[in-house]
Symmetry: C2
């Protein structure tokens, strides 16, 4: 059972700002906030959006119970009037943004949240936490899947990141192109394919390797995958085929020089008649290691540490900025901060991708007042990148759950194929298409 509210998964200043704004009346001002990143991780050509469905899940449970309210009151985080306001809090604004599985670039308006200042402010930390981590994992996953060509990649990274990150990472990995995960809670919550058979300790707890293999076959059948590198790989492969016969499902190698070992094991399996026995390799793989294994006779990959840590970029540096708000005069006005190196583009945004010969050539971000944007007509063939997630507090549930994840999985593959092929290069470089900002 998983039951919790994410309402306190929040930086304290969201609540202190709410408190001050409720006192002075600005908490009710209509606002537009935007999530974007100023830059991709160094050398990356594109990013992959993930986590939006989880934001919707969290929104459904975003309420404060008595214990939470008591905590805020006792710590004097907010005043008694604000406690009252929070008692029946639910988000009544609107959210639109990029699909999960969509490519993003610097200044892509990945999510836009519209509502009162009070309600939008409370979501900032949670929205950023989810998008920053999930998109980091999906972006890394996408590079790995490209490098693995058509071979399936499986998430085995749960043990190398926070126990809840592990669940989010499994989901984001599938959005990013992975086929399944070792993580059972992710499989349960999101209906993902779960994989895994045995670790070295399984072989070690038995009196010898043969009895371990016999036990595993008895429990999981001949189609299971036997781990063959606990002692001596050649002996293990011989024993494995003796025990399971040539119909053995697979073997896993988790150490050593994977390319040459895979070749030796393939030859040995073939010589033993186990020509359909698959080879899975696992051992600190990243996209570069996967690219190097393209010619090795490997059937699938288990990826751990580098997946769940974003392969060198464990966060996306996405920020949540106020871009438009109602003034004292009741009129919506674009706003921007002017901080050095951290200035923002004011106003709500539209976003399109343009194509030339079926390949993306630019991301177009159009900024302006609601009126001006309503009268804007994009060029022919530009793809509208924004979808509606929440309409005045009503969540569109078609973006949540297993089916949405699998659609995002397919969407990513299609969207990546529409980018110039350079996107799939592992060489460091600039974003593969430019982001062009137009202020109406």
């Amino acid at each position: 059972m998983v039951d919790y509210s994410p309402a306190l998964m929040t930086d304290m200043y969201e609540y202190t700002m709410l408190d001050a704004c409720l006192r002075d009346g600005t908490a009710d001002r209509k606002c537009v906030f935007e999530v974007f990143t100023r830059h991709l991780p160094a050398g990356r050509r594109y990013g992959v959006v993930a986590g939006t469905g989880r934001i919707l899940d969290a929104l459904e449970h975003f309420h404060l119970d008595d214990e939470d309210l008591k905590f805020l009151a006792e710590r004097k985080v907010v005043s008694p009037d604000t406690i009252k306001w929070l008692e029946n809090f639910h988000f009544s604004g609107s959210i639109k943004g990029y699909r999960e599985g969509e490519m993003f670039f610097p200044n892509s308006p990945i999510l836009q949240i519209e509502g009162t200042f009070g309600e939008c402010t409370l979501l900032e930390t949670l929205v950023l936490s989810i998008l920053n981590y999930d998109s980091a994992v999906a972006s890394a996953a996408s590079r790995m899947v490209s490098a693995a060509k058509n071979r399936p990649c499986m998430d085995m990274g749960g043990r190398r990141t926070n126990e809840w990150s592990a669940v989010a990472a499994a989901r984001a990995a599938v959005v990013g192109g992975f086929q399944g995960t070792a993580n059972l809670l992710a499989a349960q919550l999101y209906g993902l394919k779960a994989i895994g058979t045995a670790a070295h300790c399984f072989t070690l707890v038995h009196d010898d390797e043969r009895s371990a293999f016999e036990s595993q076959i008895a429990a999981l059948g001949k189609n299971t995958t036997l781990l063959v590198d606990t002692y001596n790989i050649e002996e293990a492969v011989k024993t494995a085929v003796e025990v399971a016969g040539p119909e053995l499902g697979g073997v896993r190698i988790d150490s050593g020089d994977l390319a040459s070992l895979a070749q030796r094991v393939r030859n040995q399996l073939d010589a033993l008649g186990a020509t359909n026995t698959r080879i899975t390799v696992t051992n600190d793989l990243d996209e570069y290691a996967l690219a190097a294994l393209q010619t090795a006779p490997v059937d699938s990959y288990g990826v751990g540490t580098m997946l769940v840590t974003g392969s060198g970029a464990p966060t996306c540096a996405m920020v949540y900025k106020l871009t438009e708000r109602e003034g004292a005069d009741g009129v919506m006005a674009p706003v921007m901060k002017k901080s050095k190196d951290k200035a923002t583009t004011p106003g709500r945004k539209l976003a399109y991708r343009s194509y030339e010969y079926n390949l993306a050539e630019a991301e177009h971000v159009i900024s302006g007042s609601e009126d001006k944007l309503a009268g804007y007509t994009p060029d022919e063939g530009w793809k509208d990148l924004l979808v509606d997630y929440v309409d005045h507090g009503q969540i569109d549930s078609s973006w949540q759950g297993h089916d949405a994840i699998m659609r995002a999985h397919d969407y990513r593959a299609a969207a990546l194929n529409e980018l110039p092929i350079t996107a799939q290069s592992l060489m460091k470089g600039d974003p593969v298409i430019p982001t062009e900002i137009t202020v109406l």
Copy 2:
């Protein structure tokens, strides 16, 4: 309200191994598993253990409810007999290991779990997830705290990592020497000091900076910290002191060249008579940036991204390995895998730290059978590094909760002071003391 069981925060193979071992009887074999890392992140001189108290918290809730059991049955992860075995699962083994806040090095036996194979196996993924992430954050925090000298460091990183990682990171940061966190759930769950006042959107939602400052002072008092870099810092500081008077608590700078800006703002504040107004800086700080700010007139630091991502090392590469187990003959025997580059040291372990002139000179890991270890006498002055966390299923609750975290906070400072000063160098280098392994 936070209510969940971590029992499925687990790789599937833990359950499939359990299933096979219950069938063949090896699930009841007594085992010793060990958590250690083969190496520190490149160039790091030491690591800081964190997360053990969270493992104990998780252990208290590690049970499978009907929904979980149904999931395992429907997915055919395990057999009906195993479902029965899992119905009343609780860990009845023993756990000992390093304190939270303790320094660790390659091959330090950070945690040893003793029990049946079945019960120890189910804990693997969860134990590693917690220790790998929490220790990565505490290790980074410790380097930052050293670089910040006596100035307080505050965690503001929640938005740049998974929403639950944010909570764990806040706790681990305090173990690693930080003073508080922006994260409210961490403050609630662990009784940590919470900090934070306002973001740029607070200034922007108001009609001008002055009314924003007035509103914040009205809500939070003159001792609050005003954010002064939304538009023009010099003007903002002038306005801030006009609004709050010289008793203004603090100002925060979140952009630009922090050292020179801090100096200018300090001079301006002093000239305005606000000589006690504190300066906080925040903006992608890491240990190197903190070291560079040592001579700038800064009073405290808010650290985000680099803290929660382990400052370049987002995981500790800790592993969970079987080192000893009961054989068919009922006798405990050391075991080891021989995988290339991933071989393990067999047998249960003792661990000590030796000193010369009050400075640590080596970590001593003594491996052997229970009998041999019982007869082992360490040299005079060696510190015993192992404490008991769980005794035959009974959790020692003194290692859980707020007080344990604050003891770990103090322990880290003392333990770091006992290492050679090189430990606090930010130059890349080897572990500051060697780990000497003795097999009895």
